[in-house]
């Protein structure tokens, strides 16, 4: 693919902005990044692309994304209330495909969380499908491929 620094910068900026929103729990702004038919997916199977036919950790359409945010912020969930902060960084961006106004990109994410005085670390590949809108993008699909999705995880009370 021909290098396109303008597109690269725009994608990196969008993904970094999303990461910042999530670390600072600005969930309403995060929800507004999505298209109505967008999907936030955290698969268990490391290789699958047929997410609907597999069991995932999360397979969120617009309704489930809203419910998830409501659960995190609503105060009724004791495990969500125990969530303190996350700090993540995203890097190693690569545009993997472009077609019309659709852009596919992936990057690495390192995320740390403090839960019950313990620091927990997650690494993941993030795969994005973005649609151009003005000088930015709308999120169509975000797939979080956790490095340890086959292991025994504990509570995840935040958005990857």
């Amino acid at each position: 693919m021909t290098p396109n620094p303008t597109l690269f910068n725009a994608v990196a900026e969008f993904i970094s902005y999303e990461a910042d929103l999530l670390d600072h729990k600005e969930y309403q702004d995060w929800l507004s990044l999505w298209s109505d038919d967008g999907l936030y997916i955290v698969p268990i199977d490391q290789n699958t692309t047929d997410y609907a036919s597999h069991l995932n950790f999360a397979y969120d359409d617009a309704e489930m994304r809203e419910l998830r945010v409501k659960r995190f912020m609503g105060g009724e969930s004791v495990s969500s209330n125990a969530m303190e902060r996350t700090i993540r960084s995203v890097s190693r961006f690569r545009i993997t495909a472009t077609e019309g106004d659709l852009v596919e990109a992936r990057c690495a994410m390192q995320l740390s969380e403090v839960r019950h005085d313990q620091t927990i670390h997650y690494s993941a590949d993030l795969e994005y499908r973005l649609k151009r809108q003005g000088d930015s993008f709308v999120l169509h699909q975000k797939v979080v491929r956790l490095l340890n999705s086959n292991a025994y995880l504990r509570t995840v009370a935040f958005v990857f």
Binding site: V42, I44, D45, A52, S53, H54, L55, N56, F57, A58, Y59, M64, L67, R68, K70, R71, G74, E76, S77, V78, S79, S80, A82, H116, N150, A151, Y152, L153, R154, T155, V156, A157
Partner: protein, 430 residues
């Protein structure tokens, strides 16, 4: 023989620690008790190792754990099932590290000893050095006794105990009802969520027969449901009940209308299943078939707790593996129908994801509570876990069993009485 165990500066026999109406908190925290449990319970009881659908073909296998021991459930060339100890007879290395898959043989990576799907030792490098030393037929992988009931495969290290069907006893009828959620298709495992929490395994065992916690700890889950569905989950004042099925097993019926999924097929289709019904109609299924599948997609209205490590819990299998006295692994196994319409199985998986697993709307809150129970169990030297709810309000069920209200602790009392029997029974070879 009942051993006295020194624990936390107190000396109490197991009988003193397990009363009908309460158990001592050291049952959650005493490492010596945990070691005894591995021997007396997990090595001497029928333990769930898998569902037949997880090993569908010749060469299919999955690994499971019985106490600390890794075992392999495999299907051989004659399509027969085997449960094998996952340990090479040469140096003792595990011969299989995958969760599940397909293979022609189990080959030890260290020195290349190769075992057939039925455990027989078939190949070893440099055989001439073993001539006159060993005979291959004397060195198969160790095999466990195993039996199957309605697709559920159990194994035991104890060749002397009763048959699986005798052990399951009154639970069998409920297993049969549970399997109706295939919607007319054989029940099939669709995947699992694996979850770990820092707490004793019995905390999870209790949870599956604990309706009392549901509206409290799962408030955020109930809030995420439509009104019609959240009414269904408002079952504490309903006609549900808990029944002691013997041998530590119990059933907790939360939603009596969903005990038999082949009943009430004429009722209106609930809002949250409308989309599924539409998808099935669009695929050309007859209305009767649509209704049957929609009904099955609900899952059952009961939790069947099978002592010691598996439950048929509404719409999934809950499996627990004790790791240490203060650490437990849980598998929440999603199920659907083998050959059922894809829309049906996908709906089942989406419902599973909604509640279960580390990102579900239910499991994490349970785990948070369990972690706190474990913390509480470790503080101080004395303290009891109460099991007496509903003790003065018991009745005899239609099947002649002790039963209490839906939120009673009848199922926990059943499990702990069985626990005491297994822990104090004279062991085979003590």
């Amino acid at each position: 023989m009942t051993e006295l165990i020194n624990s936390q500066a107190i000396e109490m026999s197991l009988e003193e620690r397990v009363k009908e109406d309460r158990v001592h908190k050291s049952l959650y925290s005493d490492p010596e008790i945990f070691e005894q449990e591995l021997d007396r319970i997990f090595n001497n009881t029928w333990v769930w190792v898998g569902h037949e659908s997880e090993v569908p073909e010749v060469g299919s296998y999955k690994t499971a754990t019985i106490g600390r021991q890794s075992v392999i459930l495999s299907r051989d060339r004659k399509k027969e099932l085997h449960v094998l100890v996952n340990r090479c007879k040469h140096r003792g290395a595990t011969v299989c590290e995958g969760k599940k898959g397909k293979t022609r043989a189990f080959t030890c990576p260290y020195h290349g000893w190769g075992y057939a799907l039925n455990g027989e030792l078939r190949a070893l490098p440099k055989p001439e050095e073993y001539e006159g030393v060993i005979d291959k037929k004397d060195y198969p992988l160790d095999k466990l006794r195993h039996e199957t009931y309605n697709g559920m495969v159990f194994a035991t290290f104890n060749d002397q105990i009763e048959s699986l069907e005798d052990f399951l006893g009154g639970a069998k009828k409920w297993i049969d009802l549970f399997m109706k959620q295939g919607g007319g298709y054989p029940v099939k495992v669709l995947g699992d969520h694996r979850f770990r929490f820092p707490g004793n395994w019995k905390i999870q065992l209790e949870n599956t027969t604990d309706a009392y916690h549901f509206p409290i700890i799962h408030k955020s889950f109930i809030s995420s449901l439509d009104d019609q569905t959240s009414d269904i989950f408002d079952f504490l004042d309903g006609a549900g009940y808990v029944e002691d099925l013997g041998n530590g097993h119990s059933v907790m019926v939360m939603i009596p209308e969903l005990v038999n999924l082949e009943d009430n097929l004429d009722e209106p289709i609930p809002e949250r299943f409308e989309q599924l019904a539409e998808a099935l109609r669009a695929e050309g299924h007859e209305e009767a078939e649509v209704r049957k599948l929609v009904r099955a997609a609900h899952g059952t209205g009961f939790n069947l707790n099978l002592y010691p490590n598996v439950a048929c819990s509404m719409a999934f299998f809950r499996v627990l593996n004790p790791v240490s006295v203060g650490e437990t692994e849980i598998h929440h196994v999603a199920i659907g129908g083998e050959g059922a319409p894809e829309a049906f199985n996908q709906k089942r998986m989406r419902l599973h994801e909604h509640f279960q697993g580390p990102m579900g709307f239910g499991t994490p809150d349970d785990a948070e509570a369990w972690e706190r129970v474990q913390k509480g169990a470790q503080s101080g030297t004395d303290g009891w876990i109460l099991l007496n709810r509903g003790q003065a309000n018991l009745h005899t069920s239609k099947d002649g069993n002790v039963a209490g209200a839906v939120c009673s602790e009848t199922g926990m009392r059943a499990a702990y009485q069985q626990w005491l029997r297994s822990m104090t029974a004279d062991s085979k070879e003590a």
